[in-house]
């Protein structure tokens, strides 16, 4: 009562400032642990700054020298950072294409009211499970499984499919295949769950309407589900791509840091790590980080533009129109 009176007297109390207080912790953490390191990384990339054993060399300002040396072709005439960027994208795509295809299919199956799959909780848990294992432990498991004396080779030899042990780590096809397989196994469950949430957010009446209008399942998928899922799908794709560009632990552990054979499964972050781990070379690894950052920004922008332009939210217009009409009615 008295409160009400006071409120009325001051004519308006703004609680808006509390909103800023509530989001303040995020911004403090973001500035301290993301923005500052990011700016420092860019700053460091213009310096020579590393450890020679226990002695510190630098920091000495060298301008763009680190970037120039990254883009200078080696004696064999290849620009290594481009080669590793190519490796990284290829490794990601090999895993991501099946990941999204399977995840979309599963998400549609699980959310379909016509299929009404039983025991969904169980399946969802199982497909999510590989994601809970540490990537390095998972890689170590695969390394042991596919080693020359590992169980896979034993089975192949005992069943007569191979007459002698296959060295899976000597061919780029098998190494890349294994890395893609592991990334696929680890992430398709996660993507399925997110896409399911997206599909469940779509108005069921749209599916019913489409079915009544005679659309078959395929048509419903491409004309209703996919366009309405697009914002979530693009979100999934971009986050997966950022994760893919930063691919590190799986190939690092599986190939014992080498990216073998002939560095064909050597990724950008493994390259960064080689600079950083022993000599703490902040200059060169800073330059590699900045390039990774730029690549991520460009690719993210392309994906977002391309897919968002393809599918403009078709519900938006009628809804807005409906809302406008209601307003008139009032």
């Amino acid at each position: 009562m008295s409160l009400d009176n006071r409120g009325r007297r001051k004519s308006s109390i703004s609680y808006a400032k509390w909103g800023y207080f509530f989001i303040l912790p995020f911004f403090i953490v973001y500035i301290l642990f993301t923005l500052v390191p990011q700016v420092l990384t860019i700053y460091n990339s213009f310096f020579t700054n590393y450890m020679d054993g226990l002695k510190h060399v630098g920091p000495e300002f060298v301008g763009l020298k680190n970037y120039v040396s990254l883009f200078t072709p080696n004696k064999q005439g290849s620009i290594l950072i481009l080669k590793y960027a190519g490796n990284t994208m290829l490794l990601w795509l090999l895993g991501a294409i099946p990941q999204f295809v399977i995840a979309l299919l599963l998400a549609v199956f699980f959310t379909s009211y016509r299929l009404n799959i039983k025991g969904q909780g169980f399946f969802k848990t199982v497909i999510y499970m590989p994601n809970l294992i540490m990537a390095s432990a998972f890689s170590m498991l695969f390394f042991t499984l596919f080693s020359k004396v590992g169980p896979v080779n034993q089975v192949l030899q005992q069943t007569g499919l191979a007459d002698k042990a296959i060295d899976f780590f000597a061919y780029k096809g098998t190494v890349r295949g294994l890395i893609a397989l592991m990334n696929f196994l680890m992430w398709f469950g996660n993507t399925t769950i997110v896409l399911m949430a997206g599909i469940m957010g779509i108005d069921q009446s749209l599916f019913e309407a489409a079915t009544i209008d005679g659309a078959n399942a395929v048509k419903v998928f491409f004309k209703v589900t996919l366009p309405l899922l697009m914002p979530i799908f693009v979100y999934c794709l971009i986050t997966a791509m950022i994760g893919g560009i930063q691919m590190f632990d799986v190939p690092q552990v599986l190939t014992n840091r080498l990216g073998m054979p002939n560095r064909t499964s050597f990724t950008l972050v493994m390259y960064l790590n080689n600079y950083l781990s022993t000599s703490k070379n902040y200059g060169m690894s800073g330059a590699v980080s900045v390039i990774i950052f730029i690549i991520t920004g460009i690719l993210g922008g392309i994906v977002y533009r391309f897919l968002s332009a393809q599918y403009k939210d078709p519900v938006d217009k009628p809804r807005r129109a409906r809302r406008a009409k209601k307003g008139e009615d009032k």
Partner: protein, 430 residues
Amino acid sequence: MKKLVSVVLCLLMVAAIVTIGKPAAAEDAQGKVFNIYAWNEEFKGFFEKYYTVPEGVTVNWIINPSDGGVYQQKLDEALLNQATAADDEKVDMFLAEADYIGKYVDSDYTMGIDKIGFANADTMYAYTIQAATDSNGVCKGVSFQCCPSALIYRRSIAKDVLGTDEPDEVQAKLDSWEKFEAVAADAKAKGYYMTASFAETYRAFSNNCTMPWVDAEKNLQFDPQIEAWIAQTEKFMENGYTLTAGIWDDEKNQQMFADGKTMCFFGPAWYFNFCMGNAQDPEKGCFGDWAICEGPMAHFWGGTWLLAAEGSDNTEMLKDIFETFTVNEDVCTKLVANEAQYPNNTVVVDKFANDASYGNAFLGGQNDILAFSKLAGNIKWENHTNYDQLLNENLQSNMQEYFKGSVDKDTALANFYQYVNETYPEIVTP
């Protein structure tokens, strides 16, 4: 007003936390926490069995794997923080290997043994002292072992291939690389492998290099011995004399079962416990079917040094540990008898070498201490650099791709040089 009170209270709390964190330490008191950095559990086992920790002292083992230089990275981080760390957080002692000991010995992060009141004894092998001595002649630590490396062969296979398993006779047939390669052909003809790893003979060659990996101007140098190793391995791979495994791989360890087909391994005394677990297990069928001889080329491999970290507040304990594992004859005797080690104590070595009743059952009763003692005197400490560990490790892994046929030799070398450029910006590669 309330605000002011709360701010003051907060400040007081922070101040209290900060001051509590810094206990006042008396000048000469010994610390209650002893921190040891190591890369595996090997020395930890000996330490726990043979050293009695003073009452009230807690020993912390900080163990990081050596592979890929991880141990050195973690140790470096700790040492660089040594000056500012609290007394109980400081590194007191750390272990170092022959491949990189120089980096720590020639730095201000290690403490002269004279500062802790320890003096080297005549019973130690000279090279172990030399390795732990910096350019000013100050010794920074001790080694509890001496590591002459021998050719470890399978008796039954030697009998089949050479017609004998007597160490002297086997040695006569394998005392040069030419003979070694000729015998490899005989072994192959009888269905055996000469070695189980493409890098099995690497240490024998690399330890006989005439120049260090890196010269004074930090140029990478390729020693003729390394070239010789590559040439030999090419031949071995081409003719199927060896398996393609790395030196630490499972594929190689599986050759140490009863049905193993590999005749020769190379290693010092620590190799028995550390790498030949399968062979040492009597149930796996080849216990006692082994013997050692010098092999084609005298060399040594590895060795663990105990270094005193500068800033340690446990100097008495450091001295005590150094004494226990080097001059204490009782402990050194146990290291031989119970742990199959070759100790850094010539009195104990002589005792076993001259004891006709001593024999190592694992080696079919051969007196390994006698055999190793003949090699130990020849060890020379030369041509070492701070970079040896990662250069040796990565030359091997890059050359393995070449030996397997995944890449040609030039590409393998280019990848090795690229790795060196990434890891050591100061080294100039060809």
